[in-house]
Symmetry: C2
Subunit: 215 residues, 2 copies
DNA sequence: AAAGTTGTCGAACGATCGTTCGAGACCAAA
DNA sequence: TTTGGTCTCGAACGATCGTTCGACAACTTT
């Protein structure tokens, strides 16, 4: 559906460029504060020329958020295939999220920060992906509970707190200062599973993740 | 400086009303998407009449963020006085933050979400408060480390992950569905200190917070 | 060569934006 | 009663916004 039918020239590649540049500008200035003219000059395409690629500014935001979120979710599902250990699945959820954030910080900031800026025909579609993402995380957490009996913590609070840890980096992460994806993932998973305090002895859980904590 | 000198009528009270109403509108629609006319009609004050109370839309945002952040920080410092137990100090940091969020969700959303919307004369002043808040949290965490030897986790990552957990609720918290401040605080502090997995035995730390976790 | 599709653009549309200005009402001190 | 702050407002300013339109070059297919 993308590379056939009525003979596109290089339309698809240019759309990707526009999406990438737009994410950059939206991440820097914010969606509402960015004018279509800003995108025009940043992308090197005339103002009216942009409207060949998207129908409205809202639609442009939707294209960015939808593509980003879909990729993150599908990528996670693919990496999760065949894996059954709940702790390792949780680690992969965090790693997948953090890795995509480190390689595509602009897109992830737009996804996290401009969630409310999207209006209702588009908004609901992105929220649907978000619900699937949450459901998957919740499922992982619940199977973790089933194995390890996770201290009776409210599972909704637990999962959303984990989301807080993995989404918040867009506010503070500095490349060069802060650690890479593996190490950041290890720290976050370590906190979430074992907390910050030293385990009196090794935690009762015997998976490979038990050795994480330190980079 | 607020209630003397050149005879104010009820100016201060009306300013507080405008700040409260503006926070509501900013929280609902976002700062950039909100027009001064929106605030005018929501506050029941004419468009030009608003400019008696603030110099610009930017200044209005600054007044909200500055007052909110100052209150949260000063309130925390006051509650921390005389308390030396690091874990209890950390619990109070979280509780103070969550409590203010639950009683002033609009102001806290504006503070968290519209951080970048503030421009540079004002921006720096709010960031200065933010740095003091972070420094205090970092100090608490470091003393926690000094006592409990907190598993060699990168302290910057740990503190910022904790901030992620306590700031993220503005995206998901639903009154009536989600637990109150005490319980939410207990859950977050429990995750941060002990993690989600059951301690093999009681954690090596012997404070009153050890019993938290469950509401 | 003709017809049709793809991609690009300048110019302009009406709407809305933040802010300013001058005038006037209300009220306390002189 | 006059003077001078305090507070409020309608009307208007220039600037900028998202979007549309018609024209046109480039290229592929008939």
């Amino acid at each position: 559906m993308t590379t056939s039918s009525p003979i596109p020239r290089d339309s698809e590649a240019k759309l990707q460029l526009i999406l990438r540049v737009s994410s950059q500008v939206f991440a820097d200035r914010g969606f509402e504060a960015t004018s279509v003219r800003d995108i025009s000059s940043a992308a090197g395409v005339s103002l009216s020329g942009l409207y060949y690629y998207f129908e409205s500014k809202q639609h442009l935001l939707y294209l960015i958020q939808s593509a980003t979120f879909t990729f993150v979710l599908e990528s996670l599902k693919s990496r999760l295939e065949g894996l059954t250990d709940p702790a390792e699945r949780l680690r992969l959820l965090v790693l997948n999220h953090i890795e995509y954030f480190l390689t595509h910080p602009n897109e992830m900031k737009v996804l996290s920060h401009e969630e409310d800026a999207l209006e209702d025909p588009y908004r609901e579609k992105v929220q649907a992906i978000k619900r699937r993402y949450y459901a998957l995380a919740r499922e992982i957490f619940d199977s973790l509970t089933a194995i390890g009996l996770a201290r009776g913590i409210n599972p909704r609070i637990a999962v959303l707190s984990l989301f807080g840890m993995i989404n918040w980096p867009y506010k503070w992460y500095k490349p060069g200062v802060d650690p890479d994806a593996q190490e950041l993932t290890a720290a976050i998973v370590g906190i979430f599973l074992h907390g910050v305090l030293p385990a009196g002895r090794a935690a009762a859980y015997g998976s490979g993740v038990a050795a994480i904590g330190q980079g």
